[in-house]
Assembly symmetry: D2
Homo-oligomer: 247 residues x 4
């Protein structure tokens, strides 16, 4: 199996500004996920964060990324538009993209889907979430049961303003009474995108085995495929034009 | 606005065999729905039931139906295969079909969708269901709010073995912890199909205003459209073949 | 039937700069389409063009538009970004949008779909196009036969970089050997979008009856629906949280 | 990489009854495809034909099949219904299914999709087909260019009565003027289905490298995935019911 090059992008502000979050993720959400991927999957892991030069997403890093993970929350607006465009280019050209939790409101997710993806209901009271598998045969659900539970999570509720997903892999049930489309796949250009809802920074969600397993599955699923060569632009006719061939 | 010809098919066994159900629907589920449609929509209503000759679905009735509603539960197996095929022919030719609640396991629903649509989780303990609107702009959701509640219902839970719906209009939350894709649209041939989950016979679900409103909306949505003429079979070439036109 | 408020936006440069185009559309493409709609459909028509103040798309015009048609080609880059955002807001809020021909590369189409919708093959040699109906039962195909032909057209060929359409209504065959997804529907937010390929400015395509019929059908199809009320943002729990209810 | 167990089912009548076809496929279409797969992919190949006992599709063969290929034409009606149901069970349980050319009208394809999949236009005059890649990034298109040509083929034309494919990988252009959705994927239950149009028995289509490459790609794509465990039927509540928890 090929070694996938995974880059994990994290806003990395909560962990440095909030003691409670720092207690859960002392080396940041990016490293919690990265540590799991390194031991569970055939991957090389690079991390990148908002406050690095070019947010850590230089041309070289992007060119060497098969699958990009994205976690952001407080500072979506600080992400540079030119870097968002570069990430978009790479996705349309085949790089996989996994958008996590509050990344739903990121510039890159909204840019690629076109709707106001930040629009949803939410409540960070710490309640039980039960994530139900809808497409049991999907590789992203590999190794799960009918559902898994997260003891305390932020709630996201419908209506979530996204285009109809190509595949709806998970739907969440919340203790407070809401539902949410928690696992959504999209093919855009040559790239594959997966949105995965769980992951509020104040709860240890990225230490939970089912959540990590889904992320690992998604990395494999989102890996680029070679596909077919394609050109665009003005093109000569293949068949002769203007010869009357109508019977 | 044109008057739509609606036929409501009901198995009509529970209401005649069970006093509790008869108390809720003295003239049958079909008439409860029909009475609503007659006062709320521009429709003519015909009813048809399992124990009538040809289940009430003669060629003449089917030819004069724009939208067919289907409620069945106990006796799916008693529905004649030849009549299922006639209904399928009409749907593929443009008749609308609205499948209600336990009609999920009917021959006609499985015949048109191809998967084992009877496969799901269930529990008839009488629990709270909250039906969330997922596609707020959809005509089938017209006049609703973010959600509506049914105080006591049978639970249906995922995984529901259906093809991915063309449009997912509703998702239900259940008190016991499950979720369900409760409003699903499909285009098959020239016809439109809507599956709507609520409606267990032992609860007065078809007396609830939101449920009836959705059924009325769905009848209008499922109405046949004229569309384009189409022929199949062996056809002569439009352009001349065998003249080498390659440049 | 309600009178729909239709606004037809046209770049309106070719017709003022090129005698040949002016000969085909003396009052502009917008008026050729508008004249048809006024006589064939229950509509009020407003026109708007690039070189008017705010491109003719003031807040008042947009607020009073049920369905917006968009034709642009030479000057996509001159359309103001803030006006693109206002159009997007209105579409996500329910306004219909019909994007015509070279509008495939417009800012608004790319903004709403997220991919590089300008990416395709093309050739303006004037060749036969045959538009095949794929969804015969679709209201946008109403009144057509299996196909219709355009004697001379610009070719657009795959691969067209769009998200998978919700519904693929038309596929075109070109004399020079290419194919194209020529009629594509999308639901985005509460709005409906239809892309319709034909319409190069140097051929009298918008004087052809089948093309105009499709545009009229699409206007009716794209009309806003009331749908369901919806709110977003922080929300109180509906069910009590933190009471251990697990059995 | 795991060795996939592929079973190639062929009606195998044309090759035994028609000298011309026998000249092209002396050992049958199944062996032409099987020989390619054996040298190009990591597979074990079993063949099965109509006139074998149980059409060669015993319970043991089916249980040991990861991906089933299906070619039939003259004798769809002779395929036993009980065996069609067994194949359907296996697909819904995760076995991949690749339906080739005239298999569009087979019992199994129609059973799994629900529409009258035999409905299309056709003409066996031997004309040029150009198969265009629509989803360039799809693994089934791997290694192709923008298109490939088949010098002489039977034409299939729209309208093809299928449900909207999950993914539309190929569209064909025909010399005689028609178009066709030639590469269609579906997820049904846990299984993946691919329909691939080319392959009329009187032309050496299954000796052409691009056609074989697509079949090899499709075999890998359709391979079963482990997915998530799932149970159906009556189920106990996970959360306690009937405790009033409404705030």
């Amino acid at each position: 199996m090929t070694t996938l090059k995974v880059t994990i992008w994290n806003e990395y502000r909560h962990e440095r500004q909030n003691e409670h979050v720092a207690g859960i993720y002392p080396r940041g959400i990016h490293n919690a996920i990265g540590d799991y991927l390194l031991q569970a999957e055939s991957v090389e892991v690079t991390t990148a964060t908002l406050d690095e030069p070019e947010h850590g997403l230089t041309d070289e890093v992007l060119a060497n990324t098969d699958v990009l993970l994205w976690w952001g929350h407080l500072a979506h607006g600080e992400v540079r538009d030119d870097i968002v465009e570069k990430v978009r280019d790479r996705v349309l050209d085949g790089m996989g993209l996994i958008v996590l939790h509050s990344g739903h409101a990121s510039k890159i997710f909204e840019r690629l889907l076109g709707t106001k993806t930040g629009t949803l209901k939410w409540r960070d009271d710490g309640e039980r979430e039960r994530v139900w598998v809808i497409e049991s045969g999907h590789p992203i659900a590999e190794g799960l049961g009918d559902y898994f539970e997260i003891p305390k999570e932020e709630m996201y509720g419908e209506r979530f303003e996204i285009p109809t997903p190509d595949e709806l892999v998970f739907i969440s049930w919340f203790e407070g009474g809401e539902v949410f489309r928690s696992g959504c796949t999209y093919r855009r250009g040559r790239g594959k995108i997966f949105y995965f809802r769980p992951g509020h920074e104040t709860f240890p969600v990225y230490h939970q085995s089912e959540v990590l397993k889904v992320i690992g599955n998604a990395v494999r699923w989102a890996a680029p495929t070679q596909g077919a060569a394609s050109v665009a632009g003005r093109t000569e006719p293949i068949e002769q034009i203007g010869v009357s061939t109508a019977k």
